[in-house]
């Protein structure tokens, strides 16, 4: 997994790319989320467009990020969820947890509207 962090107003966009799975990726993503929370940037959109693939552990990484942010009065929303990721979210019912968007403006806009 690789990532880039961008800002759009008070929303932070994390562009993930490569493979999202257990082990090392989990630590990297957890540290990133903590760092952003410390900076007061708690409105996160995770852009999955560059994710080649993901497994259940990768979804676990996202859900851990989500719970951490929610505890800190922030949120984590998903952008560009592929069919594969969607079906993992669907069978695990995590689709009911994550807000998902296909359009970046809609994703960031959902925070300012909210």
């Amino acid at each position: 997994m690789k990532y880039k962090v961008r800002e759009d107003g008070n929303v932070t966009i994390i562009d993930l790319s490569g493979k999202l799975m257990g082990g090392y990726d989990a630590d990297v993503f957890r540290d990133l989320v903590h760092e952003l929370i410390e900076k007061g940037r708690k409105k996160i959109v995770v852009n999955l467009a560059g994710i080649k693939w993901i497994n259940s552990t990768g979804v676990g990484i996202l859900i851990t990020g989500y719970t951490t942010l929610r505890k800190n009065k922030g949120d984590l929303k998903l952008l560009n969820v592929s069919k594969k990721i969607e079906s993992i979210l669907y069978v695990t019912k995590l689709n009911l947890i994550f807000e998902c968007f296909d359009d970046e403006h809609e994703a960031t806009g959902s925070y300012t509207r909210g």
């Binding site: 799975m21 497994n55 259940s56 552990t57 859900i63 594969k84 079906s87 695990t92």
Partner: protein, 147 residues
């Protein structure tokens, strides 16, 4: 058409999972599966291989994971074998934790395989490791004659 069998052995590292994915895609191409079903097979194979290399082989690079694909007219059968200690699958399969529990980091792999494939079976192999057997019927194959 008779059964077509493919065997792959690879070292226990995450970095080879993409290769398994490509292989799975090539093998299932042209079978009577819809796009969703193909995704489900590929996701399940990756989950099975992840468990084998991680829980079974403890990511030890000189232990290999063996994957057998049996491509039949009406179904695909995939067996993933590791050389680990095994686990109490009978007990686990009876008490699979709720995958929608957001406080759990892990523990969704077996649930996903069970939900996405028609059959999920575990066997202990002689040498000690686990073999997980996944099966999915093609759209033509229907649901009949399982187990």
């Amino acid at each position: 058409m008779a059964e077509e069998t493919f065997v792959l052995e690879f070292p226990s590292s995450y970095k080879w999972l993409n290769m398994i994915d490509l292989m799975c895609t090539e093998i299932t191409a042209g079978m009577d599966f819809g796009r969703n079903a193909l995704n489900e097979i590929s996701i399940s194979v990756i989950e099975a291989c992840t468990n084998a290399l991680e829980h079974g082989n403890k990511c030890c690079p000189d232990r290999s994971v063996m994957v057998v694909f049996r491509r039949l007219e009406d179904r695909i059968v995939i067996e993933v074998t590791d050389c680990g200690e095994g686990f109490d699958f009978a007990d686990y399969l009876q008490h699979i934790p709720d995958p929608s529990d957001i406080h759990k980091k892990r523990g969704r792999g077996i649930f996903i395989m069970k939900a996405m494939m028609d059959t999920l079976k575990y066997e202990k192999v002689e040498k000690g490791g686990m073999k997980v057997i996944l099966k999915k019927m093609t759209d033509r194959g229907g649901e009949e004659g399982d187990e």
